[in-house]
């Protein structure tokens, strides 16, 4: 008979025994040693039938195909731009995916994106040796010209976005702030009213801090209502 040693949504540290016996199966963040299932990360347990999964509290960003990321241009060569997206390898925007408009041969590529510019880009391919290709062709993909960039833990990005973007659209609606969340944990914000921008930053930091708590959407809603008033509140 297997025995579950933890409850759903418990926070565990590496080495904690999650379950005994062969009735349970380890998934991400956990492994089996003999009869026991042991945690290998700091995270929140998610019990799904017989499956024991760990949702990590803290994680480095690992690029996936299709992710929208924010990155800084760190190198410009004659046929591509290299972008720092917070991963061990720099990502590359090849010339053909550099812009919606036609880039003539021999053009000065710094006119499009210069050193230290921030861009929103889409990951088109991650090769086996972790070479990352980015594309600037697509809606919303562009160079960021004004506003601020803040850094959050990439493990919390799903919480900041919320289910079907519910959390982020609530913040946008209540603060009138323009926000782009990159999957790699960089967030761009801009608001004509500087104070509302600060409120949006505070809200995002709050979500990052309290990401493991249930009912966070209501908490953030109350926080925003107390700061900006009910005027802008979501109906």
């Amino acid at each position: 008979m297997g025995e579950l040693k933890v409850k759903d949504k418990d926070i565990v540290v590496p080495g904690d025994v999650l379950a005994e016996g062969m009735d349970f199966l380890p998934a991400g963040g956990a492994f089996r040693e003999g009869e026991n299932i042991i945690a290998s990360q700091v995270g929140v347990v998610s019990v799904n039938g017989r499956l024991l999964k760990l949702v990590p509290l803290n994680a480095k960003y690992i690029p996936k195909r299709g992710d929208t990321v924010i990155g800084k241009i760190v190198e410009v060569t004659n046929n591509c731009w290299f972008v720092d997206i917070g991963y061990s390898n720099h990502a590359c925007i090849p010339l053909r995916d550099g812009s919606m408009e036609y880039i003539p041969k021999g053009a000065d590529l710094t006119q499009y994106y210069d050193y230290n510019d921030f861009v929103v880009a889409n990951i088109t391919n991650v090769s086996k040796s972790k070479e990352i290709d980015l594309s600037m062709k697509g809606p919303g993909l562009r160079k960021l010209s004004e506003g601020r960039i803040i850094k959050v833990n990439s493990a919390k990005v799903p919480r900041i976005i919320g289910k079907q973007g519910s959390m982020i659209s609530m913040i946008k609606q209540m603060t009138d702030c323009r926000i782009v969340v990159g999957q790699n944990g960089l967030v761009w914000l801009y608001d004509i009213d500087p104070l509302k921008e600060v409120i949006a930053v505070e809200a995002i930091k709050k979500i990052e801090e309290r990401a493991h708590i249930q009912g966070l959407t209501d908490e953030i809603k109350m926080f925003l209502e107390s700061k900006v008033g009910v005027k802008n509140a979501v109906q």
Binding site: D117, G147, V198
Partner: protein
């Protein structure tokens, strides 16, 4: 993360009389002072936090010979260490221009020119033995405005300091035994750094704001408004009107900060 987009955003915000963290232009971050953080190894010590900026200052006391031209006076030696772990900019090795600037023109000049410490009272035997006070400040975390943090930390550490017991016959200091005598501070020289960004003046800059600055001026004042040290930095010039405005701002803020010590 120092980058172009944040710098230009700061400059745009300053135009609207606003800042990245929502503070007013002349508003400081929260200041915390903790006394005696290293009571075992130093005669006096203090930790100062201004927002995320953190500085620890320590006081050591030694007995040595006086300078030949000042036979009846003790002395102070100020030093600032910018630890590599406290910022991405700092490297280990010999003192850099920045650390010398902070040690000489903020700590040393502030204390010396304000005549806050009566050096004559540090004499043990005229011409032979005087106390030497070593002031060391260490940056624990640099999020801008190190100058003001170091200034406050060294003052707090001096206030916290107690002389160790000195045996005149054996000419030995017993560091384990502290006397009740402290260093008398006649004045409180408070440094306040004012940044000029695009014709506006801001106090207590963060690291991002320091990267966006045109010019800065650190003004050290004492209680009655006398200026005892000035230190300018940054590439752009300051007009006489700018300087007057900055001194006015710094004197006013200095008075507020002085209340922290009372």
């Amino acid at each position: 993360m120092s980058n172009g987009i944040v710098t230009s955003h700061i400059i745009n915000l300053i135009d609207k009389d606003s800042r990245l963290d929502g503070r007013k232009l002349d508003q400081f971050r929260d200041i915390k002072i903790e006394y005696g953080v290293s009571a075992k190894s130093a005669e006096g010590s203090a930790l100062v936090k201004i927002g995320k900026t953190e500085v620890v200052a320590g006081i050591k006391m030694e007995v040595g010979e006086p300078y030949p031209d000042r036979l009846d006076e003790g002395t102070i030696i100020a030093n600032v260490e910018l630890l590599p772990l406290s910022s991405g900019e700092f490297e280990s090795g010999p003192p850099t221009i920045k650390s010398i600037e902070l040690a000489r023109s903020v700590v040393d000049r502030g204390l010396r020119e304000s005549k806050a410490i009566d050096f004559k009272k540090l004499t043990i035997k005229k011409g032979e033995k005087v106390w030497t006070i070593l002031i060391d400040a260490y940056s624990i975390n640099d999020d801008g405005n190190l100058a003001d943090a170091i200034g406050l930390a060294t003052l707090a550490a001096i206030k916290d300091a107690k002389f160790p017991k000195y045996d005149e016959k054996e000419e030995k200091i017993d560091y384990k035994e502290k006397t009740k005598k402290g260093i008398e501070l006649k004045e409180l020289p408070i440094p306040v750094t004012v940044l000029k960004i695009k014709n506006k003046f801001i106090l207590d800059p963060t690291l991002d704001e320091e990267n966006a600055m045109g010019a800065r001026l650190t003004v050290t004042t004492v209680e009655d408004g006398r200026i005892c040290a000035l230190q300018k930095g940054g590439i752009s010039p300051l007009t006489p009107e700018d300087t007057e405005k900055i001194i006015e701002l710094a004197t006013k803020k200095g008075k507020e900060l002085r209340k922290l010590f009372k």
